[in-house]
């Protein structure tokens, strides 16, 4: 499913693909193995297709479990508590216990609510978030689909989410839910724009919307070539907007429990509530992964693995080296993402919640102009120093 990259802007594709070693291509080896058993290429491909999808779905859910546990443990540590400790060692089974509880809870649809929209809302929130995992790369070939419009696909999918939030808020027939839904929609729409502009600056540098190309463009000189040094402002803008999109604490107005009970989730219980819960945490992990892809060099090790292999006099194409490279790539991606998740959790206990007018002020009067200036400066730098800022 590795499609050749094409740029939305029809700009000349100047990627460093040729310079980068092919890395571990599980798909090709899997299909070759099954063709060796006498299967047709189509059948082998069909056999392969569900595997990465299932794997990513499992990874996303496990990521949420880890995230919930980290959230509770780090929150506890920040507040000098212990946190969950009786469900499993150090409380690692606590998220599973929470999930099981939600699974067995009664699924209530309020009498005056719109049953169809009420049910559709959480589904519409969760599905785009899971779909966005399509484009998250864990290695050169370790992603479900290297679509050419990768990062743009994520931006467009994430703008489906506010529809689901508004839908569930409106269908609950409850003033708190409605207010929460409206706030969620307003917030998501306002922060989408600076987010897209920040991404655009990165895309301009890498001449591609594909997440793989964006990472490859940062892989020249290890930590020094990561986008965070060339796009520090963009990084901050992207991180703030990602927090707002995930409704994390400085921006958790849609579910502000002191004012709105639980916002759009007020009337939800059981599995429908669990879908919201899952959606918000998958979204947080996803945003952290994308920050690491866009700004922190994705699967890149702080020192390029090619250099390390060269120093150790190992051929980069050797199977063992490829395996180690792929594992290091996965570990690095996840590590970077979870460092950002840690930062998000720490921010949660550091910053107070902003008011709705402060939120919109920050979005429209601060982030949007800064993002525009950032884009212009990036364009100017790209023209002035094409070697450094992607010619």
């Amino acid at each position: 499913m590795v499609i050749t990259t094409d740029c939305l802007l029809a700009a000349p594709i100047v990627t460093t693909l040729a310079a980068v070693p092919p890395g571990l291509d599980l798909e090709a080896s899997f299909e070759a193995a099954f063709q060796g058993f006498g299967l047709s290429p189509g059948a082998a491909h069909l056999l392969w297709l569900p595997l990465p999808m299932l794997l990513v779905l499992v990874a996303a859910v496990v990521g949420v479990l880890v995230n919930v546990w980290l959230e509770r443990k780090i929150s506890a540590a920040v507040q000098q508590r212990i946190g969950p400790e009786y469900a499993g060692a150090l409380g690692v089974l606590q998220p599973i216990a929470d999930g099981l509880k939600l699974l067995f809870k009664e699924d209530v649809i309020p009498a005056r609510a719109d049953g169809l929209l009420f049910t559709l809302g959480p589904v519409l929130v969760l599905i785009p978030v899971i779909l966005s995992w399509l484009v998250v790369p864990f290695g050169q070939h370790l992603l479900i689909s290297n679509v050419g419009i990768g990062i743009f696909l994520w931006i467009s999918l994430s703008s489906i989410q506010p529809i689901g939030l508004l839908m569930s808020g409106y269908a609950s027939n409850n003033k708190y839910s409605l207010l929460g839904g409206l706030r969620a929609a307003a917030q998501s729409i306002s922060y989408e724009i600076p987010l897209a502009l920040a991404v655009l600056a990165v895309v301009m540098m890498s001449n591609s919307l594909s997440t793989v190309d964006i990472v490859n463009q940062q892989s020249g000189a290890g930590i020094l070539s990561w986008n965070i040094w060339r796009q520090p402002v963009g990084f901050v803008i992207f991180w703030i907007c990602a927090l707002a999109e995930c409704e994390r604490l400085p921006f958790d107005l849609p579910e502000a429990e002191e004012e709105l009970v639980a916002g759009y989730q007020t009337e939800y219980s059981g599995m429908k509530f669990a879908l919201f819960y899952l959606g918000s945490y998958i979204n947080l992990v996803l945003s952290a992964l994308l920050v690491s892809v866009l700004y922190l060099g994705g699967w890149g090790f702080p020192l390029p693995v090619e250099w390390l292999a060269g120093w150790l006099h190992q051929p980069i194409d050797a199977p063992l080296v490829q395996l180690i490279t792929a594992s290091v790539g996965i570990v690095m991606t996840v590590l970077k993402a979870y460092l950002l998740v840690f930062l998000a959790i720490l921010l949660r206990w550091t910053t107070p919640r902003v008011r709705i007018d402060q939120l919109l002020d920050l979005g429209w009067k601060f982030l949007l102009p800064i993002a525009l200036v950032n884009l212009l400066v990036t364009a100017a730098l790209k023209l002035a120093f094409p070697a450094v800022f992607g010619g």
Binding site: A76, V78, Q80, R81, I82, L346, L347, T350, F366
Partner: protein, 212 residues
Amino acid sequence: MFGFLKKVADYTRDAVGASQYLAQGLAVTFDHLRRRPVTVQYPYEKLIPSERYRGRIHYEFDKCIACEVCVRVCPINLPVVDWVMNKATKKKELRNYSIDFGVCIFCGNCVEYCPTNCLSMTEEYELAAFDRHSLNYDNIALGRLPTSVTSDPAVIALRELAYLPKGEMDPHGVPDTSPRAGQLPQALLDSWAESEAAAPASTTTAAPQEQG
């Protein structure tokens, strides 16, 4: 032109200031990560209530003379004293006594004014019940003694901060024998007596200060 530039400069200064405050806050929360938990793991660990703790009221039926002083000093006349006059002996005969702890505010006035000391305050504070009417204690229930935290084998008793040795902040792992900071009243009196015995001529000018 310069007005606009000044606005931009002010705006930038505000943004930089805001990010500085944010970094300061993050430093505080990050520093708390390495500190020990200060929580008491409640059902397994409990704090020892202080000596003057005003918990559930204890009542001794046999001492009571049914004078109803407790009712008069109670802010809401809560204790119910059920007595009849025995015409033959011309004395009050107490039949029942009850206090509703769902309504009591534990002010301790009744304990303070009881002429025969039949009322006293215990260290019991776990009064949760499924039905508020079960908090209406009669004289039998009022006569029960609470389980002491220190003698309960299922509970690790922890000392409150004021009862810990000097400089100790965490009650976990402090041995029972280590004395609390400062002196108990009796030790204070003893040291007074000693100092007066040592210097009978001089007046008690320098009373020993309580340590800590």
